[in-house]
């Protein structure tokens, strides 16, 4: 533990906690400065870590040593690869900005707000750094406690309910994930190996012959339950819009920006490499949910009147695209998915910051009460439109790159054993997903921006003849109003948004720096998948062939009819492989030509 990287990582974990401790003891008014200062220090350390990082294009972990072991094989081994490091950088980058964006909006119990925020930072970093599933779980699970307080103390009118719903959803699901992880460790210990919760050890065990297919299946299901709730995935997403709706701006930024990424990161790092066979079996179901999420949630977004809820729902739809890229199970899709996590964190985080700035001035997020704000707040309107464009995937901005990669990955994931990276999606489904994500996604966002930013000027306080600056009646939980805020963005707010905008632009025109780093890691993560998918396709074929042979005895012409579709066309081409035909019953082998 004395090496430089371990020290840097330990410093990144401890510094926020120390900062939180100082905040608890310091005067109330200093809290925000201490918080921003310590989160900036963490950001600086993370830059140093990235500077030192030698494995940018190798896909390996660094450092590769194991730390002192607690009892029962639990160790706090820290190690990062390029993907973890990118997500760490995203976290440390967004946190000071989210804090800076909260300067005026948090007007009561500041010390608690900023202290919990720093604790949250530390927990997220632990989850991204851990190479031990229990250490990962500690970070992953502990994030919900600070978030509970951020929502429950500083949120909107329905904050208690939202916070409890958030907590119960994520906790119940992740306890099931934990059970799955313990199960793998226990099965490993039963074979006589010493107890260990090391990620690498568990994954190599789960793929060995000591672990049966049934076990793998259920372990994967258990892990996905927890991660899918965190993502949040389509049928279990209902906590997210509520949590976002009620959360304070800073909380929303981090929730959308990095907390949700813990779910996809968990799938990428823990679940996918753990059980390839099982993942392939469940993938069709998950892909179906992805497509429903993309299309149906896009439609749900149209029905929203609240700007923040709309962006929250769009997160669900966007994470559906990220999941689709991941489930394409090829390097393009998975790299795109990881890039999507980063881009979504930037653009949605920034959108929540913009909405928070608007809310501070007008105390409403209702689209019916707002309109034409570009006339009053041109700088704000610029950023709002800019981040909407990154979110809908305008070419030249970062959202475009990752969305195209996810769709491309999914498009090329055809179920054919002849491909180097076969998948389970195929082009037909992609049409729906593509239309959903590209067209609907753009439509509802542009519709929202069109109403709020352009059109005739509409301000909630205007009707009373006071102008919005004296709308005391809208004072919310904190009891403060917008005195002290200029009509348009202040310098502080511009400083908050500008770095994100610059990064979005940079990632839009020069994504290669990041993509080159993601690529090797993504390839390593899904290394076992081509084989697993091919096995799955073969068993599918055998099942179909067996069905066909039964049918062939009675009505021979039926066996010919499925050939028309492109999907089976791919399969038939594979039938000419010796390996595939050897498993087939004679009758079907003779029937297919």
């Amino acid at each position: 533990m004395s090496s430089l990287p371990s020290n840097l990582m330990a410093a990144m974990l401890l510094l926020p906690l120390i900062g939180a401790g100082i905040i608890a003891a310091a005067p109330r008014l200093l809290a925000k400065h201490i918080a921003v200062g310590s989160s900036l220090a963490v950001f600086a350390i993370s830059i140093m870590l990235a500077w030192q990082f030698p494995e940018w294009t190798s896909g390996r972990f660094w450092p590769n040593n194991s730390a002192s072991e607690l009892a029962l094989g639990v160790s706090f081994t820290l190690g990062i690869d390029s993907v973890s490091l990118l997500l760490i950088l995203l976290t440390t980058f967004l946190t000071p900005l989210a804090l800076l964006g909260s300067y005026t909006s948090v007007a009561h119990r500041e010390r608690e707000f900023y202290a919990w925020f720093l604790v949250l930072l530390s927990a997220m970093l632990l989850a991204f750094m851990a190479r031990d599933v229990i250490a990962f779980y500690v970070g992953y699970e502990f994030t919900i406690v600070p978030m509970l307080f951020l929502i429950a103390i500083f949120g909107g009118d329905n904050r208690r309910y939202a916070a409890i719903k958030f907590f119960v959803f994520t906790f119940v699901a992740s306890v099931i994930t934990l059970s799955g992880l313990i199960y793998v460790a226990a099965a490993r210990a039963q074979t006589g190996l010493p107890w260990s919760f090391g990620l690498a050890e568990l994954q190599s065990f789960a793929q060995s012959n000591d672990f049966s297919d049934t076990q793998r299946y259920w372990v994967f299901v258990a892990m996905m339950i927890g991660f899918c709730v965190k993502v949040p995935f389509f049928p279990v997403h209902s906590w997210l819009p509520l949590a976002h709706d009620q959360a304070p701006t800073g909380g929303s930024v981090i929730l959308a920006g990095t907390l949700l990424k813990l779910g996809t990161y968990g799938i990428y790092r823990v679940a996918l490499p753990m059980a390839p066979g099982a993942a392939v079996e469940i993938a069709p179901l998950l892909i179906t949910f992805c497509i429903i999420a993309i299309v149906a949630i896009s439609l749900v977004c149209f029905a929203q009147k609240d700007v923040k809820r709309l962006v929250a729902y769009s997160s669900v739809s966007h994470m559906g695209v990220a999941m689709l890229g991941m489930l394409a199970l090829n390097p393009v899709g998975v790299s795109g998915s990881v890039l999507y996590m980063i881009n979504h964190g930037l653009s949605t985080g920034a959108l929540f910051l913009c909405i928070g700035m608007m809310y501070e001035r007008y105390h409403t997020k209702d689209m019916d009460k707002l309109g034409g704000l570009a006339k009053k707040m041109p700088i704000w309107a610029f950023f709002m439109v800019f981040f909407t464009m990154t979110s809908v995937g305008l070419p030249g901005l970062n959202g475009f790159v990752s969305e195209v990669m996810c769709l491309l990955g999914a498009f090329s994931a055809r179920p054919s054993t002849a491909l180097e990276w076969p998948g389970l999606i195929g082009p037909r489904w992609m049409l729906i997903a593509g239309v959903g994500s590209v067209i609907f996604g753009a439509l509802y966002m542009l519709y929202m921006v069109g109403r709020v930013v352009w059109g005739p000027l509409k301000e909630p306080g205007h009707g009373h003849g006071h102008g919005h600056e004296s709308s005391h009646g809208h004072a919310h939980a904190g009891g403060h109003d917008n005195h002290g805020l200029p009509p348009d963005l202040s310098a502080r707010e511009v400083v908050t948004l500008a770095p994100i905008a610059a990064l979005c632009l940079f990632l839009g025109v020069q994504p290669w720096y990041v993509l080159d780093a993601i690529g090797p890691s993504a390839t390593t993560t899904i290394a076992a998948y081509p084989e697993a998918v091919k096995n799955y396709l073969r068993t599918q074929q055998e099942a179909e062939a067996a069905k066909g042979s039964l049918a062939g005895e009675t009505t021979p012409e039926i066996t010919v009819s499925p050939d028309a579709t492109s999907a089976t066309g791919g399969r038939i081409s594979s039938l000419s492989d010796g390996s595939a035909t050897s498993h087939l019953p004679i009758s079907s082998a003779t029937a297919t030509p």
């Binding site: 779980y137 502990f142 509970l148 409890i164 119960v168 906790f171 119940v172 059970s179 313990i182 107890w195």
Partner: protein, 555 residues
């Protein structure tokens, strides 16, 4: 004999101390009366120290104990825990009466002073729980269990002037008497099934029966009744119904006591008794750890699932804090039963240690859970015991709303205690649950563990109220009248335990090693003790036949 007496010196000290405390309690001088709780704490800690002095490896291995290591761990836990629980009661018992004496409103009346009695009964009850770890036979075990229970009935009745306390005591007593009867009947059947009262003899007889094709029906029925009887002590379903009423009726420090000492005693007794049935003979006629007999497994499985489910569902519906915590305590008994179902580690050969770490013992996990439950229990009950409204106990969730504004330490302690009871990492409760679940899964109880995981998900809902009311909510009219009780000790105890919940995971290895030593050592003595089990002379018929059966089995 001298050896065994030496081993129970700590308990003898406690019983002598109980007399001393009673006398101190009726002293005319207030200074002496006030010294009672302090003396009690000193006695408990001295006794704990004594445990470590007398429990030498040598003495333990010579004593006829089936789990020689158990005492050191369990007694330390019980005595230190009880000392902390006495701290919770500082200044609470009889404060009104003392104030009346002081102001001259009432003349001093030794009959009405209960301070000494309360503490002396507490000492007796703890002494019973400690004695239980040293039990070589069923008679000793039964007497020890009764010594734990009987004082608690009186403590409940006298802990508060309220009528509810008396009602609770009557319920507690009658149901307790019934459970004792069931337990005793079970013991009688065990004697019938094995022909001996010695625990080691019973273990041998059961191991022999298991090797011959299963523990006999009589033994199974006996064990079933024993388990049902002890379910009362650990407040497990179906004998849990009394718990909410009794916990609510008793004074809060006593509620914390009831949630720990009798429960710990019940679990220790269960561990001892179940360990008699979890061995079998291998081909070389050596005793090896095995699974519990199937019907006992099934019974414990159902009890565990019912207990955690009913406990959590019951807690969801409560508004009263103490009732909620009573149900929560029931649920935690259900979790701990997972450890007992998983049973001792199955290792190669008798006396093989699991130093390699590849075999996990459910018994260890349960013992470790007991330790962390003790700490969580005090951290959660502590704030309730140290806060009051006009001299009355605080009762509902409204009372603790916004607690952080006026009593930040108590709010933090309550929140940390609740978070640890949920099992949130990185608090101690998480690690306890982790080991319990790991042991359960390793021994093939995956479904049970998943039920427990879902249950702890359900429990989040009510623990969150304990977590968020003090820290998040604003104060209301009720909670503004809350004040801290005059004594600082309950507050100290809760803050120290809350800090322990955060810091203790750093010393995880040590705690687990201690728990390991507590249950792993039992393998050593059985072989040595087996030939001398006929101290009662009753088992004479059975013992000689044993070698023949073993040989027959070997062929």
């Amino acid at each position: 004999m001298i050896n065994q007496l030496t081993l129970i010196l700590p308990e003898i000290l406690l019983i002598v101390g109980a007399v001393v405390v009673t006398v101190l309690g009726v002293a005319r001088s207030k200074v002496w009366r006030d010294a009672v709780p302090t003396v009690t704490v000193i006695l408990l800690l001295a006794s704990c120290f004594l445990v470590h002095v007398v429990s030498t490896e040598d003495r333990l291995s010579q004593a006829p104990l089936i789990m020689p290591g158990l005492g050191l761990y369990a007694k330390t836990l019980l005595l230190v825990g009880a000392a902390a629980l006495v701290l919770l009661g500082f200044g609470l018992i009889d404060r009104k009466l003392e104030m009346a004496f002081a102001s001259g409103r009432a003349a001093f009346d030794p009959i009405r002073v209960m301070r000494g009695e309360y503490h002396s009964f507490l000492l007796l009850s703890v002494a019973g729980a400690c004695l239980l770890c040293n039990a070589p036979d069923l008679i000793w075990l039964f007497l020890a269990i009764e010594l734990v229970s009987l004082p608690t009935y009186i403590m409940v009745a006298t802990s508060r002037a309220a009528r509810r306390a008396q009602e609770a005591a009557v319920k507690y007593f009658f149901l307790g008497a019934m459970s004792s009867a069931i337990l005793l009947y079970g013991f009688a059947l065990l004697y019938g099934a094995t022909g001996t009262l010695q625990l080691s003899g019973i273990r041998e007889a059961f191991a022999m029966q298991a090797a011959q094709g299963g523990v006999g029906t009589l033994g199974i029925i006996g064990l079933t009744m024993v388990i049902l009887g002890l379910c009362y002590k650990i407040s497990a379903a179906p004998m849990h119904i009394y718990a909410p009423d009794v916990y609510e009726g008793a004074a809060t420090p006593l509620t914390a006591f009831l949630a720990f000492v009798p429960k710990a005693a019940g679990f220790l007794a269960l561990i001892l008794l179940l360990s008699t049935a979890s061995y079998t003979l291998n081909a070389a006629n050596e005793m090896v750890a095995a699974r519990l007999p199937q019907p006992i497994m099934a019974l414990l499985w159902m009890v565990s699932v019912l207990t955690m489910t009913l406990g959590n569902i019951g807690a969801l519906l409560q508004k009263s804090l103490k009732r909620m915590l009573a149900y929560s305590s029931i649920a935690h008994s259900g979790y701990m039963l997972i450890g007992l179902i998983a049973g001792p580690a199955i290792v190669d050969g008798f006396g093989g240690s699991n130093a390699g770490g590849s075999a996990l013992s459910g018994t260890n996990a349960a013992l470790f859970y007991l330790l962390s439950y003790a700490i969580m229990n005090i951290a959660t009950f502590g704030p309730l015991a140290s806060l009051e409204r006009n001299g009355e106990e605080i009762e509902t969730l409204d009372d603790i709303a916004g607690l952080r504004q006026r009593h930040p330490g108590m709010a933090a302690s309550l929140a940390i205690g609740a978070a640890s009871l949920i099992g949130l990492p990185p608090l101690l409760g998480f690690w306890a649950k982790l080991y319990l679940f790991a042991a359960g899964i390793e021994r093939g109880q995956t479904i049970l563990v998943i039920i427990a995981a879902v249950n702890s998900g359900v429990s989040v809902y009510y623990y969150l109220k304990l977590l968020s009311e003090p820290l998040v909510a604003a104060t209301n009219a009720r909670s503004e009248t809350i004040s801290a009780s005059p004594s600082m000790w309950p507050r100290m105890a809760s803050i120290v335990t809350a800090i322990m919940l955060v810091v203790a995971p750093l010393f995880l290895t040590k705690a687990l090693d201690a728990a390991n030593a507590a249950s792993a050592a039992d393998a050593r003595t059985a072989v040595r003790v087996a030939p001398t089990t006929d101290t009662l002379g009753v088992s004479g018929d059975d013992q000689p036949s044993a070698p023949e059966v073993k040989v027959g089995l070997g062929n």
